[in-house]
Amino acid sequence: MKLKILHLYPKEMNLYGDHGNVLAIKRRCEWRGIDVEVVEHEPGNKIPDDIDIIFGGGGQDSGQGKIEDDLQTIAPKLKDFINNNTPCLVICGVYQLFGKYYKTGSGKTIKGINVFDVTTDAGKERYIGNVAIKSNEFGEIVGYENHSGLTKLGKNMKPLGEVIVGAGNNAKDKTEGCRYKNCIGTYLHGPILPKNPKLTDFFIAKALERKTGQKPKLDKLDDTVENKAHAVAAKRPR
């Protein structure tokens, strides 16, 4: 068995150690005897037809500007994958661009690709610090946020979880992140996956399910270090 991960814009959007998420998926597959191939997508490249997991990380405003056009070009294909239940994780800068638009601090509007019914406007404040959220499906999720964008969810959009500590989507409505089918958008760095192995395994399980047509039974791994690191992070001051 082999899974193919599409890593969107590893050069332009590689701030905050987010590529650790790709590493987390890769290792947890390998440790279970599942092979992984990572396809790094750069502006101008073609998207392969046999992608199993999609990932896009955070970056700074200048990085967003560089990927804006290419993202529109590949949007139809990405949306096909996502509508066909391909698991997908997008963080911070790419999360914002998976919505309708992102209006930057200087008033420029970057068009999104409408995977999520969300809008983002740059706020005056920067929200920085440790975050913990609660999700019915994944339990407590810990991470670190660093953004000034204020994201509002559309009427029928579900958040990833409810904020326990931190600002989340907009520092107002206690929502964090967004969920559409198997696509998750979030502001959480940390990176998010290594310390939240349940979430990592969700992406792997969904990818296998889609590929084989059956619900997979994932081998249990020893998550002592993951859980300890999670517990420490949950107790650190903001």
């Binding site: 050069k11 590689n14 150690g17 590529h19 440790n130 760095h189 310390k195 420490v232």
Partner: protein, 412 residues
């Protein structure tokens, strides 16, 4: 106003010392209020002016190198200890060193300027020369994003009256604009060893910049470094450790050569060989006959370069990660460092975020024998284990704590 400021400032300093205070914060605060031009009034009188060193990595060591090079030329150098409030710290240091008559007996000021204080400082002080080292991912929770940090350094360049010395290989520093620029750089053979921040994960930089540089770091064989200065080669045996410090030397030489163009280059180069590492930055101690080195790691590029310089099979390694404010609360950056070169030689991880470090290593398929959060217990266990010399990578507050623990045990 200037004389009055000196008298008032010195009086407050004396009183707060009598009351048992360290005498550092209050006088700065008062003088800043009553005479905002104080720093300008005093530092403008220095015959060779004011030099500032800024950038993400290497400020402390480079400031030390430059100060010592000037001192060896016979200059009286005024320098600072960086503290939480830069401007007030400089005022206090001036007050401590100025005569009550107003005599400020120095030739030149060499100041380490934290990017966060850069804008404020340019408003209250004259800058004659600046040396801008690099813009790398430091504590993003302090500055937001690295393009913003680059804009702060541009402001330092804008405020510099004579010459700005720039690292031409840094993609952001290399783009800084100024009236008068001198560059230093790397040879093509060394450039691969210096990942820029953009290259940490995806390596693309394989050729040095084509801007003309006055000083080029040509090669490093062991501790023997060769620099090309005005197209002539000079070789020196360094005491400073790590390839990144050898590159900071190139910046220091470019700056010193710019400020004192008539001084003999050979003399600067010879003097470099006597300069030691700064506090906690490659310092070494002897404990129970074993050498223990402490290596400060603040951000991914510094950590990666430190691993490239120091990873070998003849040492045991410990990594200590704290996440206090001075370390940076966000430890995501550990995932931008590749630890494969340390392989089986990491014996122990410690610090507040010991488990995060163990987790990071686990995902590079590196098993760690021991995880001990408490630093004192960890240092004891690490040093007493095995006969190999030891190296400890530590974040800022972990470094301070470890240094304290080790100094208590060390025979110098």
């Amino acid at each position: 106003m200037e004389k009055l400021s000196i008298i008032i400032g010195k009086s407050i300093q004396a009183i707060s010392r009598l009351r048992g205070g360290g005498g550092s914060a209050l006088p700065g605060l008062v003088i800043e209020r009553i005479n905002p031009k104080f720093i300008k009034q005093i530092l403008s009188k220095l015959p060779l002016g004011v030099v500032v060193i800024s950038g993400t990595n290497g400020k402390t060591t480079t400031t030390k190198i430059i100060s010592e090079l000037f001192e060896k030329q016979g200059l009286k150098v005024f320098t600072n200890n960086t503290g939480s409030n830069f401007v007030r710290g400089v005022i206090s240091a001036i007050l401590q060193n100025i005569k009550i008559t107003g005599k400020f007996d120095y030739d030149i000021a060499v100041l380490e300027l934290d990017e966060a204080h850069a804008v404020k400082f340019t408003e209250v002080a004259p800058i004659d020369y600046s040396l801008l080292l690099n813009v790398q991912r430091d504590q993003l929770d302090r500055f937001g994003e690295i393009d913003y940090t680059a804009s702060l350094l541009q402001k330092v360049a804008d405020a510099t009256r004579k010459t700005v010395v720039l690292n031409r290989e840094d993609p952001r520093v290399g783009k800084i604009k100024a009236k008068n620029i001198k560059y230093y750089g790397l040879s093509n053979s060394l450039i691969k060893k210096f990942p820029s921040d953009d290259d940490l994960i995806v390596t693309s930089n394989t050729k040095s910049s084509n801007k003309n540089a006055d000083v080029i770091f040509e090669r490093l064989e062991g501790q023997r470094a060769t620099y090309s200065i005005d197209k002539k080669d000079y070789t020196v045996n360094l005491r400073l450790k790590g390839i990144y410090n050898a590159y900071n030397v190139a910046g220091a030489l470019a700056l010193c050569h710019t400020v004192m163009p008539d001084a003999k280059v050979q003399r600067f180069v010879d003097d470099i060989s006597t300069i030691e590492s700064a506090f906690g930055r490659g310092e070494s101690f002897i404990i129970n006959g074993k050498e223990v080195e402490i290596l400060l790691v603040k951000n991914p590029s510094a950590f990666q370069l430190s691993i490239a310089s120091f990873a070998d099979d003849s040492h045991d390694y410990m990594i200590a990660i704290n996440d206090k404010i001075a370390d940076g609360r966000d430890i995501s950056w550990l995932w931008n460092v590749n630890f494969n070169k340390l392989d089986n030689n990491i014996k122990l991880v410690s610090g507040i975020r010991a488990y995060d470090m163990a987790l990071r290593l686990k995902y590079d398929n590196i098993a760690v024998d021991r995880i001990i959060e408490n630093l004192e217990e960890a240092v004891d266990a690490f040093i007493s284990d095995g006969e190999k010399p030891k190296r400890i990578f530590a974040t800022y507050t972990a470094m301070l704590e470890i240094r304290k623990i080790i100094s208590g045990k060390s025979i110098l």
